[in-house]
Every structure is written in structure tokens, then in C-alpha cells.
């Protein structure tokens, strides 16, 4: 069938199973939007308030569903506004497909109106990117982009399409199959060596990252843990991979990790890293681990093996398949000494919990959790509130936490919550944010309201940029440079102006009342929670430090 480029884009997206895209129209994508208009019964388009919000929404959609999220933006400023969103997806290995328009081919390279070399700009923050110069390549490129975004270690792909290519016509043939590149498989001898190392370990610790969520391998991790009496720790991206109901899932380890998880990681004699990259924030001082422990590193990305931590055994491939092969060769072994040692750490952890105050962030999170189900998608922004969520919210099912881990993008949350909510068919979604992060992209409230999305937004409002302030307090002599915002923003009036509902709370009883209303609302509900500006995220291990340097108060 003869079609123009814009029709081919829409048809190929539908062919690839995409039923919802996020974006913002503009001059260089008029043709695409014209086709979206004509095909609105087959593919939904959600318009954001700003392209960055659309990029985070598509990313949130991808994280919550496991399917590629698609964002469309016009050339020039439309495209550059996607950049932070694409980088966020890249650092957290999220399958985002970004489609940008560009000026017509004869105008390329002439500094034309709204022309930016977005392919050059996004090269370091995409798995791959394209500029399509011939309409005959278009369908193939879109299919390949989806395959790249989802295969191996997922990640963002950008396709830049000049306006005249969108208008040009060619023959379109639908394709039945979605291609995917198959991952490598480690050989049997290496699996055997890993099994041997596990059998000889006295204190095994399984350290899971986002790769376990991506591969849906949580059950296999748990099986390995039960078989070997290993304990489980998580990176922030690994949260939700294994249910926190499991007694020996110790939660997040690292700079702001839970005490028992970080402590057990330092005492382990074998660390089995699964789909995790041993980032600096989660690892700290490397020598503190390597002195005690041997490492088995399982990851789909070969470049992660030996990158941050030298592994005794590296296994490259689908982590779920590899874990299956390992557990098939293990017989149940008990390690009561190790379990006892860790049980003591869990007991000690209670001393690290903040006590008393009813509006402590831990108490707020626990009160919110009374209203959520195991399936509720929790979204965070970046900063102290994010760490408190990571520490205290009890995640039970994979893909229920959407958070910007690698890039630490303040302003990620609201857009991601919009995308996450769409991915879950409009189910109630919870966003924890701070007054700083919320201030960055709060215009997306318009998107949430227009689409009647039942998003409960909890602003942990301390009037300061809390995480930076915490570092200023601990490491910069209490000189609070530009972190005491002292803004007069009335978040309740602001939310109401956008058409959302809202309440301000300063007590536990008030919070409970507002949560009742918020979880019954048919639209976004903002709860402005006043918290103490001097509350620190604890425990904390300073950058490059180890469990021996832990700060507890």
C-alpha cells in the first residue's frame, strides 16, 4: 500500500503494539500529528505541558509496563527539551523510543528555523539513534529501533525524521513479527565454576539491581536465596525486584541503604551481583568489600563485568536463564551461622530507626502504605524523600517503583507518574516528591488533571533543598548556600488552580483524613505535608566510604 512517511510512522507504531504515545506538537511534526488525528481511534496521544514531561511520561510508561514508551517532539527546542528525559532513561536502562521531527532535507545544516542536530546531541545518551533521509528506510528503522530499545540491556533510541521525509510517499508492507536480538549464553563450565564458588561460600549475599526487574527474575533470585541460605540486598533500581515480605530480603544497600543490608554486604564472603552495576553510590569504598568477598557477576551487558568491581566469575546473558541454570545444579544447603549473624544485624537496625515524631517521613510513608495495594505504582522525584521511600516503603511486586536512579533527575516524578498511570490502565498511582523537585516540572499537573488521572501526590515540604542541605550540614560547615528556598508558593492554591484537589497537613490525624479523601478522588490530589527541614536521611555512608564510616545521627 502506498503511504506517506507520517502514515508509515503511525502504522508501524500500531503494528509494534503501541497504543499510547506521549508528546507535544510543533511545526516539524505537523504531518505526524495529522495522521495521529486521523488514527485517534487506534492510538492514543497524550499531550504534556512540556516536552520534558512527555519524555518522563514515556519513560514511566516503559518502566511500569516493561514495554517501550514512545515520545514525539518537534525539531529544535522540542527535541532539546527531551534531552534530560532521554539521559534519565539511558542511565536507568529504560526502553524509550523518541521520535523527533526535523527541518526538511534541503534545509539541514543551514541553521534553519528550529533546526538542531539532535542526533549529534543525543549520541552519548542513547543506545542508538537515527536520522531518516529516505522514506523507504522509515518502517525498517522504526522496527529496528524498537528491537534495540528492548533487546539485551534496554535503553533509549532516538529517530530524527525530517519534515519532507514525513511527506514523501512509498510502499508500506506491514510486518508480522517483532524482532529482538538474542542475548549470549554462558558456557556450562562457567556455570559450574559459579556453583562451586557458591557451595564453598559461608556467607553468601545476593545483590540485585534493575536487571532483575527488567528480566523479571525475582522468583529465581528468591529460589537461589532459599536454596543456599543466602541473604538478599538491593540497589535502588533493584527495589521491587524481590518482595520485601521475604525475611532475608534486607532492602537497599549503599550510601543511604538500610543498616542490615549494607552491613551484611560488607561481611559477606561471596557477593552474587545480579543485573547490577556496582555504582559508586551503592558501593562506596571498593576495597572494603573485595578484602572479604569473592564476586560472581551476572549481567546481560558484558561491559559491566569487571567495570566497577573485578569479578571472580562473570556470567553474561539473560539473568533469569542463568539463575535457573545455577539453581538447577544446587542442592539445599543450610548456613545457620550466617543467618544468625544477619538476624542480629536486622535486630540492631531498629536502633537506626527514627523515633517519636508523628510527621517523620518514615511515619508518613507508612501511613500512605496503609492505603496502597501490592500493585500500586509508587513514583518518586529525587532527593531526601526518594531515599526515605527507598528505605521505608515495602515494595512487593516488580515494576511498582519508578525512580530516577542513575541520573538523579529532579522533576522526573510527575511526568513519570502520568506515564505510569497510563501504563496501568488509569489505576491509582502515588507520587512522593519534595517541594524542590515538584517545583521543577509541576506544570504536568495540567496533564494529570486533563486526563482525570487519580494520582496522589505527597509533597514532603521542608522548604529547603533537603539533600543538598544535608551535605552542607555534614561536609560544608552548615553554610546553607542557596538551599533555604523560603518560597511563598501555596501548593494547595496552586493545585486547585490547575484543577486538582489538595490539602495541607501538619499532623498525623490530618494526614490520615487527607489520605482518605485523596485515595477516593477521581482526579489528582496534592497533599502538602510539612516536615522538619533538619531531618537527615540516615544512616549515611559518605561518598567513597564504607560501613565503618556510617553516620547514624
Amino acid at each position: 500500500m502506498k503511504m506517506n512517511g507520517a502514515q508509515i510512522i503511525v502504522e508501524t507504531l500500531i503494528e509494534l503494539g503501541c497504543d499510547c504515545v506521549f508528546g507535544y506538537p510543533g511545526g516539524a511534526v505537523l504531518n505526524i500529528y495529522d495522521e495521529l488525528y486521523k488514527s485517534s481511534d487506534r492510538i492514543r496521544h497524550v499531550i504534556s505541558a512540556h516536552e520534558q514531561g512527555a519524555a518522563h511520561a514515556a519513560d514511566g510508561y516503559a518502566r511500569a509496563s516493561g514495554r517501550p514508551g514512545v515520545v514525539i517532539a518537534t525539531s529544535g527546542p522540542g527535541a532539546t527539551n527531551l534531552v534530560t528525559g532521554i539521559a534519565t532513561a539511558y542511565l536507568d536502562s529504560s526502553p524509550l523510543v523518541a521520535i523527533t521531527g526535523n527541518v526538511a532535507l534541503p534545509l539541514l545544516g543551514k541553521d534553519s528555523f528550529q533546526e538542531v542536530d539532535i542526533m549529534g546531541v543525543t549520541m552519548p545518551i542513547t543506545k542508538h539513534n537515527y536520522i531518516v533521509k529516505d522514506v523507504r528506510d522509515l518502517a525498517g528503522i522504526i522496527r529496528e529501533a524498537f528491537a534495540i530499545a528492548q533487546s539485551g540491556r534496554p535503553g533509549p533510541v532516538l529517530i530524527d525524521i525530517p519534515k519532507d521525509v514525513q511527506a514523501a510517499e512509498c510502499e508500506y508492507t506491514p510486518s508480522g513479527s517483532t524482532q529482538k536480538f538474542s542475548p549470549p549464553k554462558p558456557d556450562e563450565a562457567n556455570i559450574d565454576r559459579a556453583v562451586e564458588l557458591i557451595n564453598s561460600a559461608k556467607k553468601p549475599y545476593i545483590y540485585c539491581g534493575g536487571g532483575v526487574v527488567a528480566a523479571d527474575a525475582g522468583d529465581q533470585v528468591r529460589k537461589l536465596a532459599v536454596l543456599t541460605d543466602a541473604v538478599i540486598g538491593l540497589s535502588m533500581m533493584g527495589l521491587s525486584a524481590v518482595s520485601s515480605e521475604y525475611d532475608f530480603c534486607l532492602g537497599m544497600a549503599g550510601m543511604h541503604g538500610r543498616y542490615a543490608s549494607t552491613k551484611a554486604k560488607s561481611e559477606a564472603d561471596l557477593i552474587i551481583g545480579v543485573g547490577v552495576r556496582f555504582s559508586d553510590r551503592a558501593t562506596g569504598k571498593k576495597s572494603r568489600y573485595t578484602q572479604n568477598a569473592k564476586f560472581i557477576h551476572i549481567d546481560i551487558d558484558a561491559a559491566e563485568i569487571d567495570k566497577n568491581i573485578p569479578a571472580n566469575i562473570g556470567l553474561v546473558g539473560d539473568v533469569r536463564e542463568i539463575l535457573k541454570r545455577i539453581t538447577a545444579k544446587l542442592s539445599p544447603t543450610q548456613r545457620p551461622e550466617w543467618k544468625k549473624e544477619v538476624a542480629k544485624m536486622i535486630e540492631d537496625e531498629i536502633f537506626f530507626y527514627p523515633k517519636g515524631q508523628e510527621m517523620h517521613p518514615k511515619a508518613i510513608i507508612e501511613r500512605v502504605q496503609r492505603h496502597t495495594s501490592d500493585d500500586t505504582v509508587i513514583v518518586t522525584d529525587v532527593g531526601q524523600h526518594q531515599m526515605w521511600c527507598a528505605q521505608y516503603y515495602r515494595f512487593r511486586k516488580p515494576r511498582t517503583l519508578l525512580t530516577s536512579g542513575g541520573l538523579g533527575t529532579m522533576g522526573f516524578g510527575l511526568g513519570a507518574a502520568v506515564g505510569g498511570c497510563f501504563a496501568r490502565g488509569g489505576e491509582r498511582t502515588v507520587l512522593f516528591t519534595g517541594d524542590g523537585s515538584f517545583g521543577m516540572n509541576l506544570t504536568e499537573l495540567a496533564t494529570a488533571v486533563s486526563n482525570n488521572l487519580p494520582i496522589v501526590i505527597i509533597i514532603m515540604n521542608n522548604g529547603v533543598l533537603g539533600m543538598v542541605r544535608q551535605w552542607q550540614k555534614l561536609f560544608y560547615g552548615g553554610r546553607y548556600s542557596n538551599t533555604t528556598l523560603g518560597r511563598k508558593t501555596d501548593f494547595v492554591k496552586l493545585a486547585e488552580a490547575f484543577g486538582a484537589r489538595a490539602a495541607r497537613v501538619e499532623s498525623a490525624a490530618g494526614l490520615d483524613r487527607s489520605l482518605e479523601a485523596a485515595f477516593a478522588a477521581d482526579r489528582p490530589f496534592v497533599i502538602d505535608c510539612k516536615i522538619d527541614m533538619d531531618e537527615n536521611v540516615l544512616p549515611m555512608i559518605p561518598a567513597g566510604g564504607s560501613i565503618d564510616d556510617i553516620i547514624v545521627k
Partner: protein, 167 residues
């Protein structure tokens, strides 16, 4: 660990932008390139790069693995210097006087070079060979302050024997 030099043979798709992707990867991750050569292969779908880089074993491994992740990179090989023919090409223009001419001509012969342009005041000399041989000739010319300008192409490397990088 020592920062030794190593040779990478890389087969890439013959698309525009590939050179930027590869060189961008090196600069982004802080790896040094000593030289890089790229040209089309016998199959116009592919180009071949020869990259001379520097680093310890850690850097060497990371470069190979990071390159392999690029979608348009089809094959990466760390080439064994003992089983590889490595060649560079030099065009060098020297200042010449009647007094220095015999010395230069003799040097060109010793280095198995060729005089490709000749006039009263200057000469362009072409030399092909291992990088160390080219450097030796440049040192000779420098010592005598003869260099007007020079241009040195990146190294080319091919494995000895039947094996090829593409398969």
C-alpha cells in the same frame, strides 16, 4: 599497571556518523587514541577502522566491550602485534640546500623512502613502514631542523595468514 599501546581492528557499518560514535565513545570515557584510520572495505556495506590506543588491561577490556555495544560496530579485535602487519604512511617536506642534499638522499635510501617532489629549496619524501621507522626518520629531520611541514596517516593493520577480521 602499564599504559601500553595496543591495536584494534574494527569492522563497522559504512554509515555516516559511525566515526563520531566511535571517537565520541573514546573521549566520553576518557580513553586516548594515538591514531585512527577508517576506510571502506571490499564490501561497500562495511568500513574498517584501525585504532591505536593506549591503556592498561582494564582500559583495553573496557574499550573492546564498550565498542561491541555500539549497534553499528560489527566486530572488534584486539590484534596480536606479533601476528600483525602494521604500517604507517608519512609525507614530509624538507628544506634543502646543495650542502644537505646528499645527506638527505642517503637517509631516504636507508629508510627505503621515495622522493616524490623535488626542487631547488625543498623536497617531499614519502615513507611507508612501521611507526617506529617513521619516527626515526622524523627525528633525523628534526635534528637538522629541516622540516617545513609533515603529514602522517594513522596506522593500518592486517592479520597475517588466512584469517580475516570480517568472519
Amino acid at each position: 599497571m602499564q599504559k601500553e599501546q595496543f591495536i584494534l581492528g574494527v569492522i563497522v557499518s559504512n554509515h555516516f556518523g559511525v566515526l563520531t560514535r566511535v571517537s565520541g565513545l573514546f573521549s566520553r570515557r576518557g580513553y586516548n587514541i594515538d591514531s585512527l584510520n577508517v576506510s571502506e572495505t571490499e564490501n561497500p556495506e562495511y568500513s574498517r577502522m584501525t585504532i591505536i590506543a593506549r591503556g592498561d588491561d582494564y582500559v583495553k577490556n573496557q574499550i573492546v566491550k564498550q565498542l561491541e555495544k555500539l549497534h553499528e560496530v560489527k566486530k572488534v579485535e584486539l590484534m596480536d602485534p606479533d601476528r600483525t602487519v602494521l604500517r604507517e604512511h608519512l609525507l614530509i617536506k624538507l628544506r634543502v640546500t646543495p650542502a644537505t642534499r646528499p645527506e638527505i638522499t642517503e637517509a631516504v635510501n636507508i629508510f627505503r623512502g621515495k622522493v616524490v617532489d623535488f626542487n631547488a629549496d625543498s623536497m617531499i619524501i614519502e615513507i611507508t613502514g612501521e611507526p617506529s621507522k617513521l619516527s626515526a626518520f622524523i627525528d633525523f629531520a628534526k635534528q637538522n631542523d629541516m622540516i617545513i611541514e609533515m603529514c602522517r596517516a594513522g596506522a593500518l593493520a592486517v592479520n597475517r595468514g588466512l584469517q580475516n577480521l570480517g568472519n
